[in-house]
């Protein structure tokens, strides 16, 4: 079951990482699945979540690079590819995706407008501030919050903090 938690937490960041190399959903889906499967098969060797993370990223990255090398042989161009594939700056993007994936878990069932309101609320904005930024009335903001609250209350019982934010303001 811990495996499921790891899958839920890192599926999106790992897939998003792969997507930066290969923009093909189906191809990277296989890479991602395979990386998780390898984690499962080596589960005795992992003691830290950080190590699992690192393994997942390295594994999809290698798969993507292999894939691109194959394509490169076929196409024989893009010499700048190698530069672009350097590891510099990885850390920042990974961290960003990991945090964003956690936020995404909380808001994925909401519409665009509701997401915007929720994110602004998380960021500490008040109803009038949100209303002004979105160019709608305070009442609209309240209605959106209320609707988001209903969706979240039904679907996401474990996220009381979000409900508290929406409702407590």
């Amino acid at each position: 079951m811990i495996f499921k938690e790891i899958f839920d937490r890192y599926y999106l960041p790992v897939k998003s990482y792969a997507f930066r190399y290969v923009e093909d959903d189906e191809v990277i889906e296989d890479f991602v699945q395979d990386a998780f499967l390898q984690v499962w098969e080596r589960r005795e060797h992992f003691f830290f979540v950080a190590a699992i993370k690192s393994f997942l990223y390295t594994s999809v990255r290698n798969a993507c690079l292999d894939h691109l090398r194959h394509q490169k042989v076929r196409r024989q161009h893009e010499p700048e590819l190698v530069l672009w594939l350097s590891e510099e700056g990885d850390e920042e993007f990974l961290l960003e995706d990991e945090v964003h994936a956690m936020v995404y878990e909380a808001i994925k069932d909401l519409s665009e407008q509701s997401r915007r309101v929720v994110i602004m609320t998380m960021d500490g904005a008040s109803n009038p501030e949100i209303a002004e930024q979105l160019g709608v009335s305070v009442n609209t903001v309240k209605t959106i919050k209320l609707r988001a609250y209903r969706v979240l209350r039904e679907r996401l019982k474990g996220l009381q903090w979000l409900l508290l934010l929406l409702f407590g303001v």
Binding site: F7, W40, V49, A50, E92, H100, K108, G124, L165
Partner: protein, 386 residues
Amino acid sequence: MKKIDPKVELLIYRFLRGELSGEEREELDCWLQDGEHRVWFENICNKENILQKSFHFDRLNKGREESWRRLEKSTGLWRRRVMRRWMVAAASLMIPLLVGVLYHDMLWNNDPLMLVKKTEIVPGVSTATLYLPDGKVVDLGKDSVCSLKLASGGTFQNERGTLTYREDSTKKSALRYSELRIPRGGEYKVILPDGTIVWLNAESSLRFPNEFSGKTRKVYARGELYFDVTRNEAQPFEVEVEDDYTIEVLGTEFNVRAYQDSPCATTLVKGSVRVKGKDQEVLLKPGQQAVETGDGKRIEVKDVDVGPCIAWHNGLFYFDQTPLEDIMEELARWYDVQVFFENESVKNECFSLEMKRFDDFNRVLSLIEHTGMVKITVNEHVVTVR
């Protein structure tokens, strides 16, 4: 590839949730000492980035269920799942929750050997977190003594489980709010600038302004709170619980109970209050309770025995023919445990119980068990009733 400590992502996430404890705040600040980290941090917290990423993730998330299903098959987890279907519903509910707790420990300790940790269940203590208008977060405890002066004027004095706020009358500033939040297994007392005293029960919060300058003295409440309001007819006191539930007060004592998933209830001890609903107002007399109907649309007035409603304020648990489910919910909040019912039917068994809030948890459980109607087992912080 450099390893990033998974702690950092959790810290930032909790920062976004506005949930950092003082200690975590320090850890994050420490990480942010690095100028590069600060730039990352700002990008991560950027609203537009989060929003755009969520649309990108909508696309990526499409393959998730299918991927997990295949993984379950190839890892053999699928067979275990089918097996587990035969186990009782409550037990299967417990597993993910327990694992959630374990996994959490594993992340924070980075040490799987620490997974099994003996923990003692203790009653609640005076503990709270204060969120200041400038974004600062302060942890308050029974033994901490501190004094905080706000840039916008006003001073917080914290001593022995009581927080006193004094406004600075010489300095007029924009209306800004502080918030006091009490976790599970906590309680706290706060004295507002007008002399009003508020006791906060576990899992409750109070939002109050840096000064009472408007026509009313308005505060926002969640959870369970006991108010002793200083009389001032020129500037009535107002407690907003939710959009359609506000309490208007002249000077009085009353208890508000407004926990998630249960109807709001105001119980009047002395004086008089007016409770405003959606398009309805009721006036309470002492000994009466204004409670929301199940659908939350209307407010009904009932005559109640005040004792049990405000027992917590007097350091007691007092249940009079109360369903076990409600009793356990209340105990869980105070002793900070998780409760599972393996047998649905005992949820509605009614018990009467009177005890001190600082009693040993096991003694409380044995009292209930002695009735012979239920069996209770405790494993770490998980209590199972069957």
